[in-house]
Symmetry: C2
Amino acid sequence: MNKEDFIIQAFLNKKNGDDGAIVGKWCFSKDLFFENIHFKREWFDLEQIATKAMLVNISDAIVMNAKPKYALLGLALPKNLSEDEIVILQKGFLKTASQFDIEIIGGDTISNDKIDISITIISKLNGKAVFRKGLKPGHLLAYTGDLGGGLEGLNTLQNGGILSLDHVFIKPRLRPDFFYELAPYISCAMDISDGLSKDLSRLLKQNKCGISWFESLSDNILYSGEEYEILFAFDEKEYENIANIAKKHQVKINVFAKAVKGKYEFSGKEHHF
Amino acid sequence: MNKEDFIIQAFLNKKNGDDGAIVGKWCFSKDLFFENIHFKREWFDLEQIATKAMLVNISDAIVMNAKPKYALLGLALPKNLSEDEIVILQKGFLKTASQFDIEIIGGDTISNDKIDISITIISKLNGKAVFRKGLKPGHLLAYTGDLGGGLEGLNTLQNGGILSLDHVFIKPRLRPDFFYELAPYISCAMDISDGLSKDLSRLLKQNKCGISWFESLSDNILYSGEEYEILFAFDEKEYENIANIAKKHQVKINVFAKAVKGKYEFSGKEHHF
């Protein structure tokens, strides 16, 4: 067991172990976005840092089928950040909050040796929550969009290259409207943050399922993290409904496998830099 | 304006600028507890780190007159922390959560170069919220307990000394039962985290009040941070009720000044190490 899994295990109860925690009609989610862990300063400008920090958190709410309403910001910022720089950082938070109709209602700010951001998103369920749990043998497994951009972007940056402003590694592409319409027809979902292979292994393990692949996926697809595309599953009889919703929202759906009785062990590389 | 005030200002709206944010019957609060900013590893064992991280967050909920229900933990932990060490850290979180009847429902865990903790506490209001706003000229200003221990503890540690396990710097003393009973009789409150002088200046500024001192307080009292005693104010006519509640809970109340028309400028040192 790796250390993150060990820690999650230690705190496990019926509410956690998902992208967000559901309490009544509310969904609470919290993700950390730390310098030199999730980003390097030479890769992102300050507005991009704040924007991505918000988006990876909003992504958790969306895949639970919840609409973000409020945010708390925990900001650990170096003392040498100027007021002008803080204003640029704010711009990223405020613009993204406004795009998703989120009100920033509080948080905490401290001095630190680097930019470490912790965000809590408070969301309201849009109907029934979608959990990681719910997969049954026979359900089809699918992911949205194209995978591989996260890894490709990371490699480019690590080799000194530059990414376009709208590259998925800089600014994840979320699909709220599509997902809210999709939600009633699927059995489980999670966002792909650690790579399809790793996240899939979590989904299968939690649901005690194995997998029957329809095709062999490339390493680029399997081991690309920070995609924020959506991994989900559904009963075959919902195929047409789902295809129609995907078409309406112009979202590409890749049905790549079927859940089966059995178990799946993750054996690939994890996404880290 | 210092940088923290500048940032708070930039995000200011009607819900923030308080210890917690109120949404309906809920109170949301979030505080960071970072290594080398709030604590040093040689000062605290791992259980004490987790315990204090929880307590400083729970304190925010209490002074809003809210009862903590759920917590989200953001844990940034060094890779070299062993599983045994993680279990000790967990013990601090779990024991404190259980003492306050809090369920840990989620969060995020990442690798980092040091132990940086971010906690979100989700609380339910116990009647009406108590805000920082509400102070009027004529109200009496008071604080609970004895101040000075935070500064004295910090000095001892910085000079290589050791503190007892129950020292206020190691384990803040919270007063939930007292405060929940006190709440209906007071006009405003906040916990003393940055020192009475600094926190008082925030309270007075937010309420556009000045101060008339009853006595001259020592630097030890004025500039001692991380006390988590409670600064509050009340109309003189509530004096007897408040004295009775304090007596019942054996809490010392220090009435040290009266709010007046005018303004108060903070001119002392801030609490940092």
